[in-house]
Amino acid sequence: MDNYIWLIPVLPLAGFVINGLGRNSLSKNIIGAIGSLLVLAAFGISLATFFQIRSTGASIDVTLFNWISVGSFNISFSFLIDQLSSIMLLIITGVGFLIHLYSIGYMHDDKGFGKFFAYLNLFVFFMLLLVMGSNYVIMFIGWEGVGLCSYLLIGFWYTNPSYADAAKKAFIMNRIGDLGFLLGIFLLASSFNSVAFADIFPKAASAAGVPFTLITLLLFVGAVGKSAQLPLFTWLPDAMAGPTPVSALIHAATMVTAGVYMIARSNILFVLAPTTMHVVAIVGLATAAFAALIAISQTDIKKVLAYSTVSQLGYMFLGLGMGAFTGAFFHVLTHAFFKALLFLGAGSVIHAMGGEQDMRKMGGLKGKIKITFWTMLIGTLAISGIPPFAGFFSKDEILAHTFEISTSFYVIGVITAGLTSFYMFRMMYLTFWGKFRGTHEQEHHVHESPASMTIPLIVLAILSTIGGFIGIPELMGGHHELEHFLAPVFEGSNKLLLEHHPAASTEWLLMGISVGLAVIALIYAYVKYVKNNHVPVADGEERPELVKLSYHKFYVDEIYDTLIRKPLDAVSVFFYRVIELSGIDGFVNGLGKGSIETSKGLRLLQTGNVGFYIFMMVIGIIAILVYSIFKI
């Protein structure tokens, strides 16, 4: 099996190359088939690999070639597949395949069909690199590569300038994080003289004088950028400018969880830096709550999902910060299922609505697009943490861990969970219940999506339903398959972390609280949006202050604009106009001008008058003679 590992990333890459070159010449069917099947093939190999690892328990390390070798510093282009990455491989290729499949239908009418599949394949390739890399630099390649694909896909409809702006924003914000990541890598490299996981992790616990806090903080900055945490989260909602499958694949299921993956991967380093753990937890929690607060007033269906993604990512980071690596990763897994599902569902809705994304113009779709409705309902239940859907288990595990460490964190977390339930059901109600609020034409147009789109929905719905069962806590009579499977990865950290299991009763209570809150929230939402038929007001109208704040995303973008972009642009102009042109260049030109001015003045010495000339000569002679008086 080891010999075929390299095929996993290369297959999608081949897809990229074939589709990229043949984007104009190949037929859409062939392109779709190539794009999807190659990912499927990669999924097959991943599956085989997964089972191999499951059976042997040993990780697979494959070196392809020596990538960069400078002096004693060596970076090889090599892959490491262990328990953690094998699951990620399954998510990426599996969910990825489904989304490819979905895209065949979704993008069928788009001119850039071939280009789209090429980009998607490229994304899968980079994402695979990210998780398969056996060292931080390969991971970084994937890390930036997915950023690129994200950029390309957000800006897929680049003729719309605001979409192009959104793409640019995503790339640049990611880049800010990437710088932190890069510096973290440097610090690691200078501490361990290697960037390979295999060299760093075993030594980490016993290494002396390594600034773990700084390293992990820097790595975390990377994660913040990629996973859209505070304060770098604003790109993700904007990223919804891309086609919906992209939002599902990149901005929900896979890429944005790269930060979680990276921290989980580096768990030992983080565990060695308690301060960072705290920071991670605080940032995660804050993001979760903040994004949830924004989500409750959004009207764009994809925006709601986007903020919910941010919020869920916050949960994951909360889990990481609390040392619940398994829990966080578990949430990654389940989130991949239900969030992909939700996005695809939303895509299906949008597809049905002929491109309309504003929930205020929807409503009453329940009966018209049934498959979409039911699958989305499952997704919503899953994300809201209603048992027995997938989200419940993963979220509960994180909250339980949080409770062990800090009650106040728990309180915020669980309230956020309630908010999640509220805004998700708000979305459901607004979309599927009530009367249709769109135009007549749209109403006529509403139809269920083709099979290529609904099949992925169904598959994902099933996964969202049963996905949680791999992590049923022992309390409920399961034995947390996932935790056992991942145990080797977190072995080192778990030894360092203090294990305290809360009492069973407490755990039951916690579950009760969170489920209870979720249910209350969904009922409240029902009352508000179905019973009372409340519809968010149109853009022009007044909102209550708090809602306005939330609707306008707490003006974060505007604040960034005033605090960072405008000052930078002003500095730029100042540098150019004042320092560059008048200052430095002015000085340089001044030297030239000064010489010429001196020349103008000096040439007047040449008066043309012999008497004057001789007089000057005499003065020169006098000067020389005076010198001699002193010298002799």
């Binding site: 001196t598 020349s599 000096l602 010495l605 040449q606 043309g608 012999v610 020169g620 002679i621 002799i632």
Partner: protein, 459 residues
């Protein structure tokens, strides 16, 4: 010595030719005569010369090298004179004769071994030049140049003589060996009048080579004098002046260098700045060349300021490079002036299109004057800088560098005018003589620039 005799007799022959109206024969005879002088000069190469005629002259390699350069430069300039003097007046023979008299003075200047000979050499040269500057008798500028040159020249001669006198007064002889012996014998407590003598000689010689603050005559005279004569003055005369300067100082005063170096240092710095900076704003190409010649005098002074074994070589290389480049510049100027009637930079506009060859050689000349590598001018500067640095005159070199930078601006103005300023103009007619001279000079500039071993290391 034969060289000197030939060059002294040649003008008399020419005067007779003139008398018999053999105008056509003048140039060929002159050239043949100079060729003969050249051959005799070269034959004296490495002949382990001793001072001759009671220590009056010394034809060693130094003087042979400089004689050869002077003669060749003169030949090149005379080749450019084909048809030039005829336009001025009918006394063509006299002109040739006086140029050759001047050359005779120059040969004396580069070969003297006695202050008497130095003095006479300088005066033969100078008096001839006073005349030559004024040969455009009806041209006001030419008149003015002649009178200015003459008055100031005579004035500076006074100082030179005073200096020589004082040196004689303390050393008791005009002979270079005797003076050197005198300096070496009393290295510590030489009579102060000797020192003053040295300074006044510096004054006199600085005037002749056009170093600041004794340079004032240069721009006016160069501008006013006929171009061909200016070419002669700025090349051969300058070379000879430096050869004389160097010979005197390296032979006699080297052991008291501590005394006079600061003076020359100041003069050098002043010369460099005045020459270069003033040249920047000139609108007249010829006047620009005059200021440029002042600045080159500054560079040449390096060899004397940093007097050492290599100085002669440096001056030789530099002067050669400068001479051939200047000949191109003046040759081109004559042609351009014939067409446009002015000496201004504008006259060169668009020359590259109408006369690519002419523009190309001027470019080479300007690059050489600016000291750009792969031209002879660079090698010259390189030698000068090396010499100065070997004496740890770092600041002097840095000042020189600053000046070299300034100088690029005005040299490149010509190139810019020729290549980048478009102007419709007729083709400038370049006679075959000119083609030969310009081509030869350009070639020499490049060859020396690429492989300076041809001429360096001769002395």
């Amino acid at each position: 010595m034969t060289t000197l005799i030939i060059i002294s007799v040649l003008p008399i022959v020419l005067l007779y030719l003139g008398l018999y109206k053999a105008q056509k024969a003048l140039l060929p005879v002159t050239l043949i005569g100079l060729l003969a002088a050249l051959v005799t000069a070269v034959m004296q190469w490495n002949s382990n010369a001793q001072p001759i005629y009671h220590g009056m002259m010394l034809f060693n390699n130094f003087s042979v090298a400089f004689s050869v350069v002077s003669i060749i430069s003169t030949m090149l300039i005379l080749l450019l004179s084909k048809g030039y003097f005829e336009k001025i007046s009918k006394h063509v023979a006299e002109y040739y004769a006086i140029i050759l008299f001047s050359l005779a003075g120059i040969i004396v200047m580069v070969s003297y071994h006695n202050l008497t000979m130095l003095f006479i050499g300088i005066e033969i040269m100078s008096v001839s030049l006073y005349i030559l500057a004024g040969i455009r008798k009806n041209d006001f500028a030419s008149n003015e140049a002649a009178l200015k040159y003459f008055l100031m020249g005579a004035f500076s001669t006074g100082f030179l003589l005073f200096g020589i006198t004082l040196i004689y007064g303390s050393a008791g002889s005009f002979d270079l060996d005797a003076i050197r012996d005198f300096v070496v014998t009393y290295p510590r407590n030489i009579d102060p009048i000797f020192y003053i003598g040295v300074l006044l000689i510096i004054v006199g010689l600085c005037f002749k080579v056009g170093a600041a603050p004794f340079h004032f005559w240069t721009p006016d005279v160069y501008e006013g004098a006929p171009s061909l004569i200016t070419a002669f003055m700025s090349t051969v005369v300058k070379t000879a002046g430096f050869a004389a300067f160097l010979r005197l100082f390296s032979a006699c005063f080297i052991t008291i260098a501590d005394f006079w170096t600061p003076v020359l240092l100041a003069v050098t710095v002043l010369t460099l700045f005045i020459g270069n900076i003033t040249a920047l704003y000139q609108q007249n190409f010829k006047r620009m060349l005059a200021f440029s010649s002042i600045s080159h005098a500054g560079y040449l002074l390096f060899a004397i300021v940093a007097l050492g074994a290599a100085s002669a070589n440096s001056v030789f290389v530099y002067a050669t490079a400068y001479s051939i480049a200047s000949i191109i510049a003046f040759g081109a100027l004559i042609l351009v002036r014939q067409q446009t009637g002015s000496d201004n930079f504008e006259g060169f506009n668009g020359l590259a299109k109408s006369n690519p060859f002419l523009a190309f050689v001027i470019t080479i000349s300007m690059l050489s004057l600016a000291g750009i590598p792969l031209t002879a001018g660079f090698i010259g500067k390189f030698y000068m800088f090396s010499g100065a640095l070997s004496q740890y005159k770092v600041w002097l070199v840095i000042i020189a560098v600053v000046n070299a930078i300034i100088s690029i601006f005005y040299y490149f103005r010509v190139i810019i005018a020729m290549y980048f300023r478009d102007e419709e103009r007729a083709v400038v007619i370049v006679p075959a003589y000119y083609k030969f001279v310009l081509g030869f000079s350009a070639l020499a500039t490049i060859i020396i620039g690429i492989y300076p071993s041809f001429i360096s290391g001769l002395i």
